[in-house]
């Protein structure tokens, strides 16, 4: 039982990052119909920048804020330099453009920050808490708590604010949104900023638990994509549930089946889901995607 609980804790912790990444995918997909393969790089940038600033002696909270801002800037650049000039390109072209952006970011980080791994200190110490015979790292609580807060803030943003509602309107029908005066180009840019921010936050939260390096973005991004697809592309609730589910399944596989095949489980899972329920767990065919 305590072992099960242990696996559950670590699964939910990693799952929280997947959920943030998946939310990022969902945001951009809603605003533009694009799956941003550079999402994983935003996660990587968050962790790497925070670790870099901290190493230079910047206090941890400030290092985190700076890292999130820089990742958001990277989001702006990707949208302005790669997505906007492409105009109304085909899905295949857009996928390839974002893959190009992701390679560029990864390469630049490798050139300027090196291939080595970096790490962040835990936000509030490393003393594990004992819960029903299992141990829980304080950092896990941070990851789960911050993700919960982010989800709540997003819900408020989309439900109560004008900009949030404009984003929903754009997702639902771009032309109609333009007709009622929504600046859809701004909405697209905003979606990239938001998803880069979400990704960076996720990357920073797990950096103290798992080491970070220039190439962690690939797997994290791909798993975020799996989580988003699992929940049904574009569904916010689905993204969160998909992320948590993925983290837990992965952790259980590592614990009870084989740690070598831990990384394969999300992809086996998504293939099964796509074969038997192509619209994802929460996606509805051809209805609103939010």
């Amino acid at each position: 039982m305590s072992q099960f609980l242990q696996f559950l804790f670590s699964g939910v912790t990693v799952g929280a990052t997947y959920a943030l990444a998946a939310l990022g995918f969902a945001l951009i997909y809603n605003a533009s119909g694009v799956i941003n393969f550079a999402q994983g790089e935003f996660i990587m940038l968050g962790g790497m920048f925070a670790a870099l600033f901290y190493q230079f002696g910047v206090p941890l909270p400030l290092a985190i804020v700076l890292a999130v801002l820089l990742a958001a800037l990277a989001g702006v650049l990707v949208e302005k330099l790669a997505i906007e000039p492409a105009g109304n390109a085909e899905v295949v072209s857009l996928i390839i453009i974002t893959i190009g952006a992701s390679l560029t970011i990864r390469g630049l980080v490798q050139v300027f920050m090196g291939k080595g791994t970096r790490s962040l200190p835990a936000f509030s110490g490393d003393t594990p808490l004992a819960v029903l015979g299992a141990t829980l790292l304080p950092q896990s609580l941070w990851a789960i708590g911050v993700t919960a807060v982010v989800v709540a803030v997003l819900a408020w943003f989309f439900g109560r604010t004008v900009v949030g509602k404009a984003m929903l309107a754009t997702a639902y029908n771009k032309l109609a949104a333009q007709l009622v005066g929504v600046n859809t180009r701004f909405i697209l840019l905003l979606s990239f900023v938001l998803s880069a921010t979400l990704g960076a936050v996720g990357g920073i939260l797990v950096a103290p638990i798992n080491y970070t390096s220039y190439d962690v973005g690939i797997m994290l991004g791909l798993k975020g994509f799996v989580a988003a697809t699992l929940g049904g592309l574009g569904s916010g609730l689905g993204a969160v549930v998909g992320g948590l589910l993925l983290g837990v399944v992965e952790s259980m596989t590592a614990g009870y089946v084989s740690s070598a095949y831990k990384d394969a489980t999300p992809f086996v899972l998504i293939l099964l889901i796509l074969f038997f329920r192509p619209q994802g767990l929460f996606g509805k065919k051809g209805t609103d995607r939010v």
Partner: protein, 312 residues
């Protein structure tokens, strides 16, 4: 001489491949040429799927990897003759592709990208983890290619083999595209619904082309394994899949000759940039983005349009 009229490109390609060995200065240049030919053959097959049928595959390196590792394991560990291993690997890959084709190709756009990506990653994770069979991350040696008691070694024989294969693959692809089946594939790209309305069995055609391109990737993987003599799991990985897709889109989707150009450019690029560690990834990414933004149809079709038939 009919061929000169109907397929001028094929005649030119054959001539270039025939003359090239006399222009290649050293063994290194031969090595690059052989790699270009192998990549180009894979990419032509992938392009039948992406360029002509409009179905993306982000997992083709997985099929290439199956071919390479199956050949390596069957010949080195089980003592099979290389040709038998190559055929068995291709048959196995085709079977796998056939089994997954229908559920995968029911998907569209991003879901299809996700599924093919997932399949490719699963294959590459299996290769990394089955250390007893594949040597895991350390890789494994492969015996030389031999048939009828003769061993193929040295850059010239390998050049003629890979160039010959490339020519045959090009010829087959051009014929396929011009055939009724090829027209059906292009119709699927244009509009799947419309092609179904005029009586094309779209799912059968998509599945067949998926199996064909996977089997071709497997065969080229087998040849590659024997050529390099040592395998590492990276060749089945996600990044290699991306490289293959890049070759298709940079050269030109829906252009067989574009594929050869794409393979040529992107095989040579890392060689040219190999002294600048890290920058090659940046260059790769930037080229991908620039091509898609400014030449969304790829190099060859865009140039052909501009200079060949005037603007359209």
């Amino acid at each position: 001489m009919n061929y000169l009229k109907s397929h001028p490109g094929l005649v030119i390609l054959a001539a270039v491949l025939l003359v090239l060995p006399f222009a290649l200065p050293n063994a290194y240049a031969f090595d690059v040429a052989i790699r270009v030919a192998i990549n180009a053959s894979v990419v032509i097959g992938l392009n039948l799927l992406i360029g002509y049928t409009g179905q993306i595959s982000l997992g083709h390196a997985g099929f290439f990897g199956i071919g390479a590792y199956a050949s390596a394991i069957l010949t080195s560990r089980w003592g099979w003759p290389p040709l038998a291993a190559l055929v068995a690997a291709a048959a196995g890959t085709a079977l796998l592709a056939w089994v997954v084709a229908r559920p995968i190709l029911k998907l569209k756009g991003h879901y299809l990208a996700m599924a093919t990506l997932g399949l490719g990653i699963i294959i590459s994770i299996v290769i990394v983890n089955e250390t007893a069979w594949t040597g895991g991350p350390d890789g494994m040696p492969v015996s030389a290619l031999s048939a009828f008691g003769k061993e193929l070694s040295g850059e010239r024989p390998w050049y003629w083999l890979s160039a010959g294969v490339l020519l045959v693959v090009t010829w087959l692809a051009l014929n396929l595209i011009d055939s009724p089946a090829g027209r059906a594939l292009q119709a699927i790209h244009g509009s799947e619904v419309a092609s179904r309305v005029v009586g094309v069995d779209t799912s059968a055609f998509k599945a067949r082309i998926f199996v064909l391109s996977a089997a071709l990737a497997s065969v080229m993987g087998s040849l590659y394994a024997h050529y390099v003599g040592f395998l590492t799991p990276g060749l089945a990985g996600f990044f290699h899949s991306i490289e293959l897709v890049t070759m298709v889109v940079v050269g030109g989707m829906a252009s067989v000759y574009g594929c050869i150009f794409g393979a040529l450019i992107l095989t040579m690029l890392p060689q040219l940039l190999s002294t600048l560690e890290g920058w090659e990834t940046v260059a790769f990414g930037v080229i991908l983005m620039l091509t898609m933004i400014f030449l969304p149809r790829g190099l060859v079709p865009t140039l052909k349009n501009r200079f060949g038939r005037g603007t359209s």
